[in-house]
């Protein structure tokens, strides 16, 4: 009995994605809590997905079926990644989530002023700038910061989407 190329592709993508999640969690636990390690581990698992889907399909089927399996596997893996990353960053960086976790840790209630001191302060801006600096989006210039070409490209793209979608400044 030969298996469906699509089923093989979906199974390969799901299995390799589970491996990616474990590798990524292991990496974060080991202190590699950055976008680069996330992308490296995902790229490795994405290639694993493609190789598995292509190899297993090529065993029983022709070239067109291999193409179908490769496309299905790549798209399934990319979709799983697109769903995983926002969930991850919500847990890691969302200020709303951090507020709720802080409240829980401090007995369920805090003065509003204390929360503003914590989450609307110069310190939170410094922390975010440090992250942007480490990611290569901004660069120091004396006591100030300036955009790198990469940061400028990202800012221009999102400003364009904001204009297209009529969103206003936001933030």
């Amino acid at each position: 009995m030969t298996s469906s190329p699509a089923l093989v592709a979906l199974a390969a993508a799901a299995a390799w994605f589970v491996i990616f999640v474990f590798v990524h969690i292991g990496g974060v636990r080991a202190g590699f809590e950055n976008a680069r390690s996330l992308l490296i581990s995902y790229t490795a698992c994405f290639l694993g997905t493609l190789v598995t889907a292509i190899a297993v399909t090529a065993w029983h089927h022709g070239m067109q079926a291999v193409i179908l399996a490769a496309i299905m596997a790549a798209l399934t893996s990319a979709c799983l990644f697109a769903l995983y990353v926002p969930a991850l960053y919500t847990v890691l960086t969302s200020l709303s989530v951090q507020t709720m976790m802080l409240l829980r840790r401090r007995g369920g209630a805090l003065p509003e002023a204390e929360l503003y001191d914590r989450f609307a302060s110069r310190k939170i801006m410094e922390q975010r700038l440090a992250t942007l600096l480490a990611s290569g989006y901004v660069a120091p210039k004396g006591p100030s910061y300036q955009l790198t070409p990469r940061g400028r490209a990202i800012a221009k793209f999102f400003r364009l989407v904001k204009i297209l979608w009529n969103l206003g400044p936001g933030g």
Partner: protein, 179 residues
């Protein structure tokens, strides 16, 4: 291939409809507006899947996803992932992204380099960080995760449930919750 073609085409239609809605019918609840567009497109996608032949009149037998139920499930999955992981996240980043807004503020700043004080007071075209955090507090109050009583912010039962969930997720990642 039918799943990939239909889901991709419908994602393009969804993005066009979202752009149309945002420009012509501005609303304070844009995420809800996007959800309505998503469900509308999802219904059209399901109808299209049943109304069209398996090969879409284009593909050979070896490019068909079999069994058919798998093709249907893949269609729904690809389209939903495109929305929840793509379009909705793009909107969230544009409208609520803290780091992204800092980058845009730096792009729009009168000087090439800006300091932390400028970014803190002029965040989001001059609204400031207090505005940014008030917006988040108001949003999670509206979602009934927290409540405001006598100048204190109180976690609701629903908020506590989600706070537990996020705290456990951070524990899995080996990270401490905020102190």
């Amino acid at each position: 291939m039918k799943a990939i073609c239909l889901a991709s085409a419908m994602t393009v239609v969804l993005l066009a409809l979202v752009t149309f809605c945002f420009r012509l019918y501005p609303s304070a609840h844009r995420a809800r507006q996007m959800l309505f567009v998503y469900f509308f497109c999802l219904a059209v996608l399901v109808a299209l899947w049943f109304a069209t032949p398996d090969d879409l009149g284009l593909f050979g037998q070896s490019l068909l996803t079999e069994p058919a139920w798998l093709d249907f499930a893949a269609t729904l999955f690809f389209f939903s992932a495109g929305f929840f992981g793509g379009a909705l996240q793009l909107y969230n980043l544009c409208d609520r992204g803290f780091s992204l807004r800092i980058l845009v503020d730096m792009l729009e700043a009168p000087t090439v380099a800006v300091d932390v004080d400028y970014l803190t007071t002029d965040y989001s075209s001059g609204r400031g960080l207090v505005w940014m955090y008030r917006k988040r507090i108001d949003d999670i109050i509206a979602a009934r995760f927290i409540d405001r009583t006598n100048k204190r912010i109180v976690l609701t039962a629903k908020g506590e449930m989600f706070a537990n969930l996020f705290t456990n997720a951070r524990r899995v990642l080996g990270l401490e919750p905020p102190q």
